[in-house]
């Protein structure tokens, strides 16, 4: 888990091996030509298949009609704007992510506390991750979104659909992210803890100043991976009735008999994940620069 994604994900190998005598990083003139031709051919074949497909005209009309793309983007009097609804996805995502980062860290740390006194806490942490990694998100959404209001509790049963959605996302994703954190914590060599403790730092100080900073740095790529998943899964909150981008697109499609709205929603989801991915790349690159490219003493 921790090693995944640490490589420079953006550098694609050229389709043909570079000619001998050249560094693999630098593309010589010949290699550029070959990779260019191969790329053009590849996309030409894909384009030909799409364009020549028997239903291609219908699909173009249903999914890529410029008028419907624009209209679903902005919304009409009777149909919600997809981009407006997408703000709800962003809202759900931002709140959930912040809560997940905290809750998951607490779970991961609790799971690692040694000593018999903490046995019940460790058990709870393990049971939690087992449970919420095991249940499909959509079921957790139904159970929280319809079950908690049914309990008739004073405050907790009268929250908004969006809030129940956020709670469900936080519960499920925290279980995953806690495991990511835990892998990171375990990847920090025990000698680091020994060095910290030998200087008189307490167990907690060692965790806070020495172990966690290193652990979190190492798990940024897999964390990002989970958060891209989270961004997309915000669409599932619509099963509780909230009108977010995917639901707004569905409403538009159902009343206008045109699915351009789905394409708009899809593009919005892609657009928001790209800055996150680049940001993470930059964090990793900065870290590499600081520490010299993987130099080992």
């Amino acid at each position: 888990m921790t090693t995944r994604g640490t490589g420079p994900a953006g550098t694609l190998e050229p389709p043909s091996p570079p000619p001998p005598g050249r560094g693999s990083k630098m593309l010589g003139g010949h290699a550029v030509l070959v990779s260019g031709v191969s790329t053009i051919l590849f996309f030409a074949v894909i384009a030909a298949i799409v364009v020549l497909a028997p239903g291609s005209e219908v699909v173009a009309e249903r999914f890529f009609n410029p008028f419907h793309l624009r209209q679903s983007f902005f919304g009409t009097e009777s149909e919600p704007s997809v981009v407006g609804a997408f703000l709800l996805n962003v809202y759900i995502f931002v709140i959930s992510e912040a809560l997940i980062l905290i809750l998951a860290l607490v779970i991961a740390v609790v799971r690692g506390i040694p000593g018999p006194v903490f046995f019940p806490f460790r058990m709870i942490a393990i049971a939690y991750t087992d449970l919420f990694r095991g249940i499909p998100l959509i079921l957790v959404l139904y159970i929280i979104g319809f079950g908690v209001p049914g309990l008739g509790l004073a405050f907790f049963s009268y929250l908004s659909d969006v809030t129940y959605g956020i709670i469900a996302l936080v519960l499920v994703y925290s279980a995953y992210v806690a495991e990511v954190y835990r892998a990171g914590i375990e990847s920090v060599h025990e000698s680091q803890n020994a060095a910290a403790r030998s200087l008189g730092l307490s167990r907690w100080q060692s965790l806070r100043f020495v172990i966690l900073p290193q652990a979190i740095r190492r798990v940024i790529p897999p964390l990002l991976n989970d958060f891209i998943g989270l961004q997309k899964d915000t669409a599932l909150v619509s099963v509780l009735g909230s009108i977010e981008a995917a639901r707004a697109a569905q409403i538009y499609g159902a009343s206008q008999f045109n699915y351009a709205s789905y394409v708009v929603a899809a593009l919005l989801f892609v657009l928001i994940t790209i800055p996150l991915a680049r940001f993470t790349d930059r964090l990793i690159a900065r870290d590499k620069r600081r520490h010299g490219a993987g130099a080992v003493a």
């Binding site: 020994a194 030998s198 200087l199 100080q205 020495v210 520490h291």
Partner: protein, 252 residues
């Protein structure tokens, strides 16, 4: 009998096992203030484990360890407070890779001794200057040579003003040409009167620096005495055998 009140370090009947494997079989050792005691012996003789027990990294099974009159192996001792008095330097340096040199050094004084950041930095910079590392203050450990890293690790331990320093084969992970710079730092500490307990494979260094040398084998101190005697006329046949092997290997 000496109960360790006046000694810097006092060990009595220290036993330690890892499962079935008894690594320390009753160690008695006294280190007086300003003494430099070198532990020699083959790998697996218990040198490192002994240092770990003194540092409370490993709990002892039985026996007593007293540091400056305080029994650190007693029930309910605050290990964090004990460790402040004992500096340890590891074979593998164990610097914190996510912190620059200066932060490596100031972390414990600031967080443990509660020194304010400015004062902790001032002390760190003094020490760095003394060991010729001032220009490395903002470097990250990965950018330093092994010798520089180990010197930073020594500075990091010294910044806590320990009363005893434990050195655990601090040159074993270094390239031969980097050993000298680290040894000269340790020699400097010895000249200043720092009390040290040193596990080492560098026999020439031990002969040079030690006020006393202890030969360990299979978890026992078989022989101890001033280096002139141990290295020239060892009494115990096992010590003799060990040193002959060392000489044969050209390490003395």
């Amino acid at each position: 009998m000496n109960s360790g009140e006046a000694s810097a370090l006092f060990l009595e009947g220290v036993h330690k096992s890892f499962g079935e494997n008894e690594v320390l079989k009753g160690i008695d050792l006294v280190v007086e203030p300003h003494e430099v005691v070198c532990l020699i012996g083959a790998s697996g003789s218990g040198k490192s484990t002994l240092l770990k027990c003194v540092n409370l990294t490993e709990p002892v099974d039985s026996g007593r360890i007293v540091v400056e009159g305080e029994e650190i192996t007693a029930e309910g001792v605050n290990v964090n407070r004990v460790r402040r008095k004992i500096g340890i330097v590891f074979q593998a340096f164990n610097l914190f890779p996510h912190m620059a040199v200066l932060q490596n050094i100031t972390l414990a004084p600031h967080e443990v001794l509660k020194m304010d950041r400015k004062a902790a930095e001032r002390r760190a910079l003094e020490l760095l200057e003394r060991f010729g590392l001032l220009d490395k203050r903002d470097e990250y450990p990965d950018r330093l040579s092994g010798g520089q890293q180990q010197r930073v690790a020594i500075v990091r331990a010294l910044a806590m003003r320990p009363s005893v320093m434990l050195l655990d084969e601090v040159t074993s992970a270094l390239d031969p040409e980097l050993v000298a710079e680290v040894l000269s730092v340790i020699r400097g500490l010895a000249d200043e009167g720092m009390t040290m307990l040193i596990a080492t494979h560098e026999m020439g260094f031990a002969r040079d620096i030690a006020s006393r040398v202890c030969f360990l084998e299979a978890g026992r101190i078989l022989e101890q005495g001033p280096p002139e005697r141990i290295f020239t006329s060892p009494e115990n046949p096992r010590t003799r055998q060990f040193l002959q092997r060392i000489i044969a290997a050209g390490r003395l």
